[in-house]
């Protein structure tokens, strides 16, 4: 694959970076990234990956665009109210960059479809807004050995971590079990400053691009916590749990479970 003249122009600020170059840009163009959720995090992640030229972006979300989304979900717009989020995001990303093919899936991710959905992708990004999905995505990525860039936001705080199955920690090494329903408030209950989703989503997109390029360090065995009110980034070490129920040598979770039990999905 040779880069076209348009591509040399579009990606010139990448190409002149020693860590990227034409070869790195071709890796980006060949990459396939699956994003769970086309909401607060999925929008900025997908936006920057589309701008970067990630060739195939898969996105799953079952929701339609609502007015209350537009304070933070920047791939959508007022004229897209009522449109499926994945259709809205596909139009936004493909009009930003015709090199990108967006495959939108209007469905809920579940134990029955996730393995099939992610198996052909290189990297998975979790931009979901609930614990059952977070644990489902973690367990599926560990089972398929897919790199996973996980992000979360609430109020004025964000978290990012990068899970490389077989090399580093997984989400269950960090928090072995889901918190009981109701203990951790959702964005719907607690609110979120819209711009935080951009900070965390851009960090996730950056992690993805470094994984594609094979350059720099990623948040392996590390949880990055951003506190917007204090303007503080904190790195917390997360050692791999030798007794982790899913990623240890003798896992007790060997197939995907019914993660929704007891949880109300928002």
């Amino acid at each position: 694959m040779e880069l076209t003249e348009d591509q040399l122009h579009r990606y010139s600020r990448h190409i002149i970076l020693p860590e990227v170059g034409g070869k790195g840009q071709k890796k980006i163009l060949s990459a396939k990234v699956f994003i769970v959720g086309a909401g607060g995090l999925g929008c900025p992640v997908g936006y920057y990956l589309a701008a970067a030229g990630v060739g195939t972006i898969g996105m799953i979300d079952n929701d339609t665009v609502e007015l209350s989304n537009l304070q933070r979900q920047i791939a959508h717009s007022t004229k897209k109210l009522g449109v499926h989020k994945v259709d809205s995001a596909k139009e936004t990303f493909e009009s930003l960059n015709p090199d990108v093919k967006v495959i939108g899936i209007k469905d809920r991710i579940s134990k029955d479809n996730i393995l099939d959905l992610i198996k052909d992708y290189d990297i998975v990004v979790d931009g979901s807004d609930n614990f059952p999905t977070r644990y489902l995505v973690n367990d599926a990525c560990v089972m398929l050995k897919k790199p996973l860039v996980s992000g979360a936001i609430l109020r004025f705080e964000g978290q990012v971590t990068t899970i490389l199955p077989g090399e580093g920690h997984c989400y269950r090494c960090l928090f072995e079990e889901m918190p009981p329903p109701g203990l951790v408030p959702s964005c719907q209950e607690a609110g979120v400053l819209g711009a935080i989703t951009g900070v965390v989503g851009a960090l996730q997109a950056t992690e993805v691009l470094k994984l594609i390029l094979g350059k720099g360090d990623v948040l392996k065995n590390t949880l990055l916590i951003y506190d917007a009110l204090k303007v503080n980034f904190r790195r917390v070490k997360v050692p791999k749990n030798q007794n982790c129920p899913v990623c240890s040598d003798n896992p007790t979770i060997t197939e995907l479970q019914d993660y929704d039990a007891g949880y109300c999905r928002i």
């Binding site: 040399l8 010139s12 002149i16 070869k23």
Partner: protein, 81 residues
């Protein structure tokens, strides 16, 4: 100065920064370590910025020469992948 063997020549006259370097970098990426690239250009700023950028990328600049009123020639040896 002894003559060096030129393995590839590119003509980037008419281009301005950063495309002068983009084109030069794409050209050298496809070459083998030890091979020499010769760049013909007419954008003065690039006659300074390309050698600097090539050295930042770890390559060896062998020659920067103004050959007439408008054009320069730069020779660079690829030193690493």
């Amino acid at each position: 100065m002894e003559d060096v063997r030129i393995d590839k020549k590119i003509n980037i006259k008419g281009l301005i920064c950063p495309y002068t370097f983009v084109k030069s970098k794409i050209a050298i990426e496809d070459m083998e370590v030890g091979e020499v690239l010769e760049i013909l250009l007419d954008y003065e700023e690039a006659s300074r910025s390309i050698p600097k950028s090539m050295e930042d990328h770890g390559h060896k600049v062998l020659k920067v020469e103004k050959i007439n009123d408008t054009d320069w020639i730069i020779q660079v040896r690829k030193e690493k992948e």
